[in-house]
C-alpha cells in the first residue's frame, strides 16, 4: 500500500490577543492510495483545523504550524506558497461544508468549474468548458448544459455540493479532502451525495480524507477512522474495528450516544458523556478526556497516555483501554 499523505506530530496553534491556543496537538496519521480515512470528532476536536492545515489554508500571520505533512514525499509545510498553490486544487482537492459560501455567487457554474481546470492545466477555454460539462455529468447533474449557465443561487443545496465535488475533481487529484460535505444537506440529499462519493471513489481511485461528526457517514464511506478529542488523536483503526471493538472510552461513549432506529426510549437512555469539551486555551495535565471519563483513575490526571497498539491496525491513547474479545 503506497502512502500518499503522511502527517507526523502536527501541531497547530492560533495566536490570539489573550495568548495562543493549541487547536491540534501532536496528531499523526497516514492515508494510503485509494483509501478513505475519516477524521471524526465533535466541536473543539481540531478536526477541521487539521484538514485546513493539510492545505495550509490558515492565516499565516496568526497560525503556528509545526510537524510534518508529507504529500508524495514532499514536505508541504516547507514548500513556498507558489508551489503550494500548484498543489491545491490540482493534486489535492477540497470540498467545504457550506456550498453556498464556497461558490462565487456572481459567476456562472460552468465558468467556475472551468476556472478550476484552467488554473492548473494549459488547455484552451473551450476545452476547459467541455471538460467542465463532462464533470457535471459525472457528478450526476441533470440537464448540465443549462446548469452550466446558471448561478449558484439558482441551484439547490444538493446540486451545489455536486458542483463543489466537480470542481474538486476537476484536475484528477490524488487526494480529496472533504470537510463535513453532507452536514448542511437534507438527509435524502445526503444519501444521494454519499452514493455519488462512493461511486467516484471506485471510479477515480482517489484517496479521500473526510472530516465529519456523523458516525453514520463514516460507516458508509470510510475504510479507516481517526477519532479526535480536544485536539488530540484518541483512537485509530479500521471502520470495522472502531464500530465493533472500540478501545477508547470516548469512542464507546460517542457510539452509545447515537440513537439507532431499532432501539427506543423504553430500552433506556442514550449513553451520556457528562460535562463538556475543555477549552483549548487551558493548560492540561494528563489525558484531555479524563474529567469526563467513567474509567478514569489517578494516572489519567497525571500522565497523558501514548497511542498504543490494540491490534496491528488499531491504536488507542488510553490508560484503561477497553478490550473486547473478538467474536
Amino acid at each position: 500500500m503506497t502512502v500518499v499523505l503522511e502527517v507526523q506530530r502536527l501541531n497547530v496553534s492560533f495566536v490570539a490577543t489573550s495568548g495562543s491556543v493549541r487547536a491540534v496537538r501532536g496528531v499523526s496519521f497516514s492515508v494510503a492510495r485509494s483509501e478513505t480515512l475519516a477524521i471524526v470528532g465533535e466541536s473543539g476536536s481540531g478536526k477541521s483545523v487539521t484538514a485546513l492545515s493539510l492545505m495550509r489554508l490558515h492565516d499565516a500571520e496568526r497560525t503556528k504550524i509545526s510537524g510534518s505533512v508529507k504529500f508524495k514525499g514532499a514536505e508541504l509545510l516547507e514548500v513556498s506558497e507558489a508551489e503550494m498553490r500548484s498543489v491545491r486544487g490540482n493534486e489535492i482537492g477540497m470540498i467545504f461544508q457550506e456550498p453556498m459560501s464556497s461558490l462565487n455567487p456572481l459567476m456562472q457554474i460552468g465558468n467556475q468549474v472551468a476556472e478550476a481546470i484552467l488554473l492548473h492545466q494549459s488547455v484552451s477555454r473551450s476545452e476547459a468548458k467541455q471538460r467542465a460539462l463532462r464533470l457535471l455529468i459525472q457528478v450526476g447533474i441533470a440537464d448540465p448544459e443549462r446548469r452550466m449557465r446558471e448561478y449558484p443561487h439558482q441551484l439547490s443545496g444538493g446540486m451545489r455540493q455536486r458542483v463543489m465535488i466537480a470542481m474538486a475533481l476537476a484536475c484528477d487529484p490524488e487526494i480529496l479532502i472533504a470537510d463535513e460535505p453532507t452536514t448542511a444537506l437534507d438527509v435524502t440529499v445526503q444519501a444521494q451525495i454519499l452514493d455519488l462519493m462512493r461511486e467516484l471513489k471506485a471510479r477515480t481511485g482517489a484517496s479521500i480524507v473526510i472530516i465529519t461528526h456523523d458516525l453514520g457517514v463514516v460507516a458508509e464511506l470510510a475504510d479507516r477512522v481517526v477519532i479526535m478529542y480536544a485536539g488530540v488523536k484518541m483512537e485509530e483503526g479500521t471502520t470495522a474495528e472502531i464500530f465493533s471493538r472500540p478501545a477508547h472510552p470516548y469512542t464507546v461513549g460517542l457510539l452509545g450516544a447515537i440513537p439507532s432506529l431499532d432501539r427506543n426510549r423504553s430500552e433506556g437512555p442514550l449513553t451520556e458523556i457528562p460535562g463538556q469539551v475543555p477549552s483549548p486555551s487551558h493548560a492540561r495535565v494528563g489525558c484531555s478526556f479524563a474529567a469526563r471519563c467513567s474509567l478514569s483513575s489517578s494516572i489519567c490526571f497525571e500522565t497523558e497516555p501514548e497511542l498504543e497498539d490494540v491490534s496491528p491496525s488499531h491504536t488507542a491513547a488510553c490508560h484503561h483501554k477497553i478490550r473486547t474479545p473478538v467474536a
Binding site: E42, S43, A142, S156, G157, G158, M159, D186, V187, T188, V189, Q190, A191, Q192, L194, D195, H213, D214, L215, G216, V217, V218, A219, E220, F243, G253, L254, L255, G256, A257, I258, P259, S260, L261, R263, N264, R265, P269, L270, T271, E272, I273, P274, Q276, V277
Partner: protein, 329 residues
C-alpha cells in the same frame, strides 16, 4: 381515544404572500397547507421532514407566534387561534417552545436569573422575590445546572448548557405542552444525547406532552411515541412510532428511513430519490411528491391524496397506492 386530546390542530394553513414583483398574480409560499393532527397528554408526537416541508412554521403557528391563514387550533378544549393578544398571552403559559439555536435563544445581556424570572413573573406562577429565586433554583436543579448559574450571563455557557437554560425557561410556567423546534440539531453528538435524555426524563416525571420537530429520524426514533411525516407543507403519513419505522407505507417515508446512514449491520438497500425538493411556492400538481416518487402513476399527477386510515392500524397515509395492512413490496 378515551381522553380528549390536549392539542388538536384542524386543517391548519399558513401561507406567506411574497412581495409583488411587476404585474400578475402574487406568489404565495404555501408553507403549511391543510395539516391536521392531535397530541394527547404525556405523549410525544414528532414532526419529521426535510427543509421546506413547513414543520418549523407549523410549530410556530400552533403556538400562535404567527397567526394561521386558515384552520383551527384547539388546546385543552379552548380555541386558541384568533384569540386577542391579551388572552393569548395569558394562555401561553400552557404551551411553550424551545428553539434550535441555543446561542440566539437567550438574551445576550441578561442574567440567567432574569431570563428564568421573566415567565415566572409574567404568568404569576410564584409571587415575591424569595419565592421566585427559590423556584429558579428548583428549575436549575431539574435541568442539571448548578444553582450558581443564576447569577451568570447567558453568554458564559456552552451550547448544551444554554439549551438546558432554555428548557428551564420553558418549564417555568408549568406548561402541559412544549414544542421542541429542532431543539437538539445544533448540538454536538454527546451533548445531544444529554439533552434528549433530559427531555425524556422530564416528560416521564412531569407528564409533559412534546411536539418534537426534527429532521433527524434517529433521534426522533429514540424519543417519540408517534411520528408525523411532512413533505412540502402537507402531512403524508402519521401514526405510531413502531408502525412507521418498521413498516413505512408512504414512499417518501420509506425513502427517508432508508436514507438514515446505518452504523451497525449492513446498509439495507437504499431508496435514493431523484432530484431535489421542489420549492414551496410552486408545489407540483396533484400529489406533491409525485415528481420524485419511484412509484408514481397517472392519478398522482392530477389528484392530491388525502390522509386516510389504513385498516385497523393506528396510522393514516396520504397516498393513491393500494395499501393494505400487509404493506408493500
Amino acid at each position: 381515544m378515551s381522553q380528549p386530546a390536549l392539542l388538536e390542530v384542524i386543517s391548519l394553513k399558513k401561507h406567506f404572500p411574497r412581495p409583488r414583483i411587476g404585474f400578475g398574480p402574487r406568489e404565495v409560499v404555501r408553507a403549511v397547507d391543510d395539516v391536521s393532527f392531535a397530541v394527547a397528554r404525556g405523549e410525544t408526537l414528532s414532526i419529521v421532514g426535510e427543509s421546506g416541508c413547513g414543520k418549523s412554521t407549523l410549530g410556530r403557528t400552533v403556538l400562535g407566534l404567527t397567526p394561521p391563514s386558515a384552520g383551527a387550533v384547539w388546546f385543552d378544549g379552548w380555541r386558541v387561534d384568533g384569540l386577542a393578544k391579551p388572552q393569548l398571552r395569558k394562555i401561553r403559559r400552557h404551551f411553550q417552545i424551545i428553539f434550535q439555536d441555543p446561542m440566539a435563544s437567550l438574551s445576550p445581556r441578561m442574567r440567567v436569573r432574569d431570563i428564568l424570572a421573566e415567565p415566572l413573573v409574567n404568568f404569576g406562577v410564584v409571587k415575591g422575590r424569595k419565592a421566585v429565586d427559590e423556584r429558579i433554583g428548583e428549575l436549575l436543579d431539574m435541568v442539571g445546572l448548578a444553582r450558581d448559574a443564576a447569577v451568570r450571563f447567558a453568554h458564559e455557557f456552552s451550547g448544551g448548557q444554554r439549551q438546558r437554560i432554555c428548557i428551564a425557561r420553558a418549564l417555568a410556567p408549568e406548561p402541559s405542552l412544549i414544542v421542541c423546534d429542532e431543539a437538539v440539531s445544533a448540538l454536538d453528538v454527546s451533548v445531544k444525547a444529554q439533552i434528549v435524555n433530559l427531555l425524556v426524563s422530564l416528560q416521564d416525571s412531569l407528564g409533559l406532552s412534546l411536539l418534537f420537530i426534527s429532521h433527524d429520524l434517529a433521534i426522533v426514533g429514540h424519543l417519540t411515541h408517534r411520528i408525523a411525516v411532512m413533505y412540502l407543507g402537507v402531512m403524508v403519513e402519521i401514526g405510531d412510532r413502531d408502525l412507521i419505522l418498521d413498516r413505512p407505507l408512504h414512499p417518501y417515508t420509506r425513502a427517508l428511513i432508508s436514507s438514515v446512514p446505518k452504523t451497525r449491520g449492513e446498509a439495507s438497500r437504499r431508496i435514493v430519490l431523484a432530484g431535489d425538493v421542489p420549492s414551496p411556492i410552486n408545489p407540483p400538481s396533484g400529489c406533491r411528491f409525485h415528481t420524485r416518487c419511484p412509484k408514481a402513476f397517472d392519478r398522482c399527477k392530477v389528484e392530491e391524496p388525502k390522509l386516510r386510515s389504513v385498516g385497523t392500524q393506528r396510522r393514516m397515509v396520504a397516498c393513491h397506492l393500494d395499501i393494505s395492512e400487509q404493506g408493500m413490496s
